[in-house]
Point group: C2
Chain length 542, copies 2
């Protein structure tokens, strides 16, 4: 697997240097590379209880990303998914612990328990006050006395961190941490495994399947389940949490395991807010990446029953930008739509000549549908013909309600119709064209002058000019010769459209991102449409 | 592709509701679903210049995630990678624009230019002051007059946002935005394409390759290049930026395109700080997800030459948590390692009987290497035998410097040796065992009592107990019968180890995550090691 790293061996040291460097001087690290990788608060004076956490790397922003005022004092970082050594933990403890003592916050994995445990013993031999709590919030394995520590660890960091920042003593901070640990529960779901640096990616989750109750180190989930979208996924996660949920108000923590997009996470937040847990979940932390498993495309939900003091501790401001803050989880706040969105509909009126002209223009576009689609397929989506033909059919259907007798109003009404039925760039371009033509007509321009004013506005807003391989390359010469008659305009439009086939570098629109060799020899579909329109009118006029 | 969504059609509306709900009441949305998807500041009073941005979705947290005090006033959101409609933009403008007017910040794509442009025309028809700026920071396509707008857009949001928040008038805010746009440059690199909801994933970047100069909508990069790690990748990006970089101090913005892990992004930040640009880049924004392309595993670097006023505007605090803040980019702050990490080495001394006992214990472990590895392979890594044999060899080699004549110091010294040579859980467990035994010995316990004290501490720190399928199941009965002689202890250890083969649910250690049917019939390798040790001693004693 390709990854933006230099080597597996230097990954953690380089990444931590990157974290320290971009912390705006909030963080420092101990000078113990490569074996001792400890990130500490740069502003720490040992005057209060220190909080030390850590463990294997690969869970970023945990834990170094949560070092800072109001959360951790130090993070001790192992290799990816491997516990740090006793010496590293001891270095972290000794570096930050003063008379007020130190709380070690450890996720319940054997390696972490042991390395942090032995380091605590050694630190106590120096006369330091060291307490240790073990976070075991995972409810995926219900009959396991040794539940894993996962994202619920963030509740401990935040609540203990707020108390320590306020100056609470070690017993108080440790007791608060233990209360949080007793109440916190978590479970995760993932659609894919994670990519461990230096190892091939495990491909164990099949098409249409998800894993439920997974760990944060690539451990397989407790069960593979069918995946049926975000709503069903959240319902399944909520269902596994429910047996462990007591009465009272809860905080939820919605954690991105690393590879889910913000769009997906926001949909999952919405589903959580609509779930059967909604009446008990009054606050939410996230959605955000907090306790990741490298690039795993999954999420976890943690729940904590809370007192008012705990809510205040969770809401207290902190320095680490990785902490997403606590939000009340309520209804979606709505604002009424402003007035003035719907253009005033002009009164319909009749003008047989104009009606016939519009019908012939529309017929030209409908007849060109397949040819323009084929041309567009050379450089784009292949839908120019269908877009124009669809708009033409809609315009024909709207003829009875158009103000055909009033030229100015008619231009504007056509613009409105096209912008509502076509969508996308072409609809808006034509709406701008006709809106500006209507304005020009109102200010006394001839009908050709009005159309030229529309073209000017299109060039200005769209940023395209003659020679840029757009419809302008046909429309501009056609309008410039239209006073000589429609046949001259048609010839000019045709010449202009044909010339676009030699413009091998589009300078505006989507085709501008295409390699030039793909464009050579094919006219721009928009210019071709304009040429076909004038040719059709010229044939009718002949 | 599996994604945590319900349907392509409802993705954006559901995600935006999730964003609004988890904003702690900072945000609201217009009541215009499904076609009008506009997120607005909930606290907005129209007293200052409004900033409206937006475009296609799929770039989260852009743009809804940057709505809030000090940045955007409203975000108008289209479908994934599709411009919002004119009506939606107009609704956004009308909803937030007061007498001070409104600045539209538009990325340079035809659809966005047109829809925002026509909406601006219509809003001006209501008598509103509306200015529009087009961001075109991408330098991937050097000969394209219409450069794309990418992550440099964030510089505009932040600097214009700070000025608007301070009460600057529309001309001032728009002029500042245009100055930023004139100076901002960006380029991106990716190892993989993005996954567009509802579409199959395009597989166009081969093994060992990366794309340079890509867009944020899945457009192919300008070139495919060989990928040779993070350092070379950053060097290539810097190389493409350099021709566009002028003199003076710059701010860099390091953007995660969505799928790179925080570890990767921190390594890239470190590489940027070590690059040839380091002398000109004095500040950095990120690394963070700011202008993503769904789940694309890539990054982009944007640069802006800055005045002091602009630095102040970039550093000003804002409400949206997605803004990562501005950091000075300097040296990695180091703190010295604390004293006391290295245990004091006791003086060597002689005791032939103890030396012989240790040698026999080590011989037992060395002789059992293959058998214990084979047993461990049934439930774990298959390395228990090698770990123990390696430690035994190291301990034999260390005999000459051990304090063999002092029982208390000897226990502690053995613990230190084992923790330094074994690593991992087993080394620490044995270090805790011998450290506690040494303490007990110092306080007057018999040698058997000291070993029992060591076992107690191992149970406490490791969280394992008899019956949990660990080495304790052999060690506990052996120590309990050791006063009856080593033969009795060996028999008890053997019975305890054999009993672990029937413990089909490990309750501690790594095997606890294994399905029980994989464990049935095989003894725990740690317990087996203890049994083999005592059996070896009993044979020697017989």
């Amino acid at each position: 697997m390709k990854q933006f790293i230099n080597s597996k061996e230097t990954l953690v040291t380089e990444a931590l240097d990157g974290v320290v460097r971009t912390s705006n001087s909030r963080l420092a690290r101990l000078d113990g590379y490569p074996h001792i990788r400890v990130v500490v608060r740069a502003d720490w004076d040992r005057s209060r209880v220190a909080l030390v956490s850590g463990g294997g790397s690969g869970h970023e922003p945990s834990h170094a990303g949560f070092v800072g005022q109001g959360m951790l004092t130090a993070a001790v970082c192992g290799d990816v998914f491997a516990s740090p050594s006793v010496d590293a933990v001891l270095a972290g403890i000794l570096a930050v612990t003063g008379k007020a003592g130190c709380l070690l916050i450890v996720k319940n994995y054997t390696g972490d328990r042991l390395n942090f445990g032995l380091a605590a013993e050694r630190a106590r031999a120096f006369g330091l006050k060291v307490a240790m709590v073990i976070v075991d919030d995972d409810v995926a394995l219900p009959d396991l006395p040794q539940a894993r520590g996962v994202a619920g660890t963030l509740f401990v960091h935040k609540i203990a961190g707020a108390l320590a920042e306020q100056g609470a003593d070690l017993d108080t901070v440790a007791a608060a941490a233990r209360r949080v640990i007793a109440g916190a529960i978590s479970i995760g779901m993932s659609l894919d495994t994670c990519t461990v640096p230096g190892s091939p990616k495990e491909d164990r989750i099949g098409v249409g399947m998800a894993e439920l109750g997974l760990g944060i180190h690539g451990e397989a989930g407790v069960e593979q389940v069918g995946f049926a979208g975000a709503r069903a996924a959240m319902a399944m996660v909520v269902d596994r949490l429910l047996p462990h949920v007591g009465p009272g108000e809860h905080v939820a923590l919605l954690n991105n395991l690393g590879g889910a997009t913000p769009l997906e996470m926001s949909v999952l937040a919405e589903e959580l807010a609509r779930s059967v847990l909604a009446d008990r979940v009054k606050w939410i932390v996230g959605p955000a990446e907090m306790m990741t498993s490298l690039d795993m495309q999954g999420f976890s939900v943690s729940l904590l029953p809370v007192t008012g003091d705990e809510v205040a501790a969770l809401a207290a401001p902190v320095a680490p930008p990785a902490w997403p803050g606590l939000s009340a989880l309520g209804a979606v706040a709505l604002r009424p739509l402003p007035d003035g969105l719907s253009p005033i509909q002009p009164l319909p009126s009749a003008n047989p000549a104009r009606r016939a002209l519009i019908e012939r223009c529309c017929a030209a576009m409908i007849a060109s549908e397949a040819a323009l689609n084929a041309l567009d397929a050379k450089s784009g989506d292949g839908d120019t013909g269908s877009t124009l033909a669809g708009a033409a059919r809609a315009l024909v259907a709207a003829l009875d309600r158009l103000p055909l007798a009033d030229g100015t109003q008619l231009y504007r009404a056509i613009g409105n119709e096209l912008s509502q039925t076509m969508g996308g760039s072409s609809g808006v371009l034509l709406a701008i064209f006709f809106a500006a033509a209507g304005d020009a007509s109102a200010s006394g321009k001839t009908w050709i002058g009005a159309l030229e004013a529309g073209l000017d506005r299109v060039c200005q807003v769209g940023g395209a000019h003659p020679g840029d391989r757009t419809m302008i390359d046909a429309l501009a010469p056609a309008l410039a010769t239209l006073s000589d008659g429609v046949a001259a305009a048609a010839a000019a439009a045709r010449a202009g459209a044909d010339a676009t086939a030699a413009m091998t570098r589009a300078k505006a629109g989507r085709a501008s991102y295409q390699a030039q060799d793909k464009l050579a020899g094919y006219a721009d579909p928009g210019a071709e449409a304009v040429a076909r329109l004038f040719e059709h009118l010229a044939q009718g006029a002949a």
